[in-house]
C-alpha cells in the first residue's frame, strides 16, 4: 500500500517551481562552450548535477526525504566543483542556501519511503 500524500507547504512549492525553471534554463548550459573548454568531462559532471537537482526537486515536490538528501548532496558537490574551477557564484550560493533553509524545517514532516 502507498502512504497517504503529505500536504506540500507553499514555501516548498515556490522552491520547486523556481528550481524547475532553473533546470530548464541551465540544461542547455551543459554544452556551453565555456564549460567544454575546462575539460572533456566537465560537461558530463555538470549534466549529472543538473539531472540530480531535477530529480531532487521532484522528490521535494512529492514531500520525500530523499529529495532533500539528494538536493544537499548535489549542492555540496556543485559548490566543491565550482570552487575547484574557481567559478563560485555568490548569487547562486545565496539562492541554494535560501532553498536549503526553506526546506529543512519541513524535513521531519516528509515521507521516508521512495
Amino acid at each position: 500500500m502507498q502512504g497517504a500524500a503529505i500536504k506540500r507547504p507553499v514555501l516548498i512549492t515556490v522552491v520547486c517551481i523556481l528550481g524547475f525553471t532553473w533546470i530548464v534554463f541551465s540544461f542547455p548550459g551543459v554544452f556551453a562552450p565555456s564549460l567544454k573548454k575546462l575539460g572533456d568531462w566537465y560537461p558530463a559532471l555538470f549534466g549529472i548535477l543538473v539531472a540530480t537537482s531535477f530529480i531532487s526537486y521532484i522528490g521535494l515536490w512529492h514531500m520525500k526525504r530523499w529529495g532533500v538528501q539528494l538536493f544537499l548532496i548535489s549542492f555540496f558537490v556543485k559548490e566543491t566543483l565550482l570552487v575547484l574551477i574557481n567559478d563560485v557564484s555568490y548569487a547562486g550560493l545565496f539562492l541554494s542556501v535560501f532553498f536549503i533553509c526553506s526546506i529543512l524545517p519541513f524535513y521531519k514532516r516528509m515521507d521516508v519511503n521512495l
Binding site: F27, D40, P43, G47, V50, F54, H62, N113, L114
Partner: protein
Amino acid sequence: MVFWSLFKESIVFALQALVSNKLRSILSLLGITIGIFAVIMVFTIVDSLEQNLRKSVQSLGDDVVFIQKWPWEGGGPDYPWWKYLNRPVPDYKELNYVLENCDGAQSAAFMVAGNATVKYKSSSIENVTVICASHQYDRVKNFEIAEGRYFTEIESASGRPVGVIGDVLAKALFPNQSAVGQTIKVRGAKVLVIGVFKKEGESILGGSPDTQVLIPVNYARSLIDINDDDLDPQIMVRAKPGISNDELISELTGLMRSRRRLSPLEEPDFALNQTSIISNVFDDLFNVVGIAGWIIGGFSILVGGFGIANIMFVSVKERTNIIGIQKSLGAKNYFILMQFLFESVFLSVIGGFIGLLIVYLLTLVAGDSAGMEIQLSRSNVILGFTISILIGVVSGFVPAYGASQLDPVEAIRSS
C-alpha cells in the same frame, strides 16, 4: 545482480516498445537525434575550424612580428584609414637596418606578394601567388620542402632566376614528371624550379604554399616594383628563443622610429602586427558560432526530451496493469522506477547514437569536399552520449516515478 537483471529487462522492454510502435518511437527519437546532431555538428565544425586556424597561425609563426604599413586590428566604420593611407611602406634597406641592429631578432625577411600567370610549355595557370622574399624567409616562415632545395645565399643575393613552387602547382604543371630542374615562366620571365613545397592543404587564412611560387626578391626587382603599395611589402621578424613578442615589438618600435627619424611626439608611421591579432578575431567569431549552436541545439534537445517524456507516459499507461501485477508479486517501487528509467535512457541513447552517427558520416563526406580535416573529436562523442543519457534520465524520471507510485490494486484493475 539486481542491476543487471534490471538492465537486461529494461533493454528488452525498450526494444519491445521500439518494435511494437515503430513509427511512434522513431518520431520521438527524432527530436533527440536532431538535437544531438545540431549541437555536435556545430561543435565539430567549430573545433575543426579552430584547429585549422591554429595550424595556419602556427605556419605564419606565432613568434613573428610583421612590420607593415597597415595594422591588422580595427576595421568597421570607425577605422581611421586616412591616418594610415599616406604612410611609407617598409623597404628592403629597412630590413638590413633591422638585421644589423635588432638584438631580439633571430631572423628577418623582406617579402612582397603578387599574382601572376605561371606557364610551362602549353600549360598555364592564372592568378598564382608569387612570393618574392629575401634569403632568411625560410627561417621566418614555417614550411618544409618535399623535393629539391631552398635558395642558396648566393642565389638570393645575386637574384638568380630560381624558384620553389607549391605541390598543387607542381602536379598541375608537371603531371607525370618531377618539377625540379624544369623551367617555368612567371610574368613571362624564366624561373628554374629548384624545389617543391611539402603539401599543406587549404588554410583558413589563405596563402597556402601549395599554390604559391617563391622567388628571390632580388630577382623579382626586374619583374615588379617591390615597393608597390598594392603588393603589401613587409618585413617579417622572428624573435630569438626566450624573447617575447612584446619585447621584440618594443625593440622594433624604437628601431623603426629612429630609422624613420620620428620625433618623440610623432605617431609611428608603421604597424607592428602579430598573429595573435588574427587568432583573437577568429576566437571571438568561433565563440559566437559556438554559443549560437549551443542555444539552438540546446533547446531542440530540450524539445526532444519532451518527446521522450511523452512516449514514456504512454508506455506507463499501456503497461499499468503489468505494473500492478509486478507490484502484487513483490516488486519494489525502485524496481519499477529503474525499469522505466532504463527504458527511457536506452531510447534516448539510441536517438543520440543515430545523431552522432550522422555527424560522423557527414564529417567523412564534408572533410573530403571542404579540403580541410573535419574530425568528430572524443570530447564531442563523450558530450553527445552524456547529453543523451541525461535527457533520458530527466525526461523519463517523472513517468517512471509515477509508475513506481501506482497502487497495485488500482493498477491491475485498469484496462
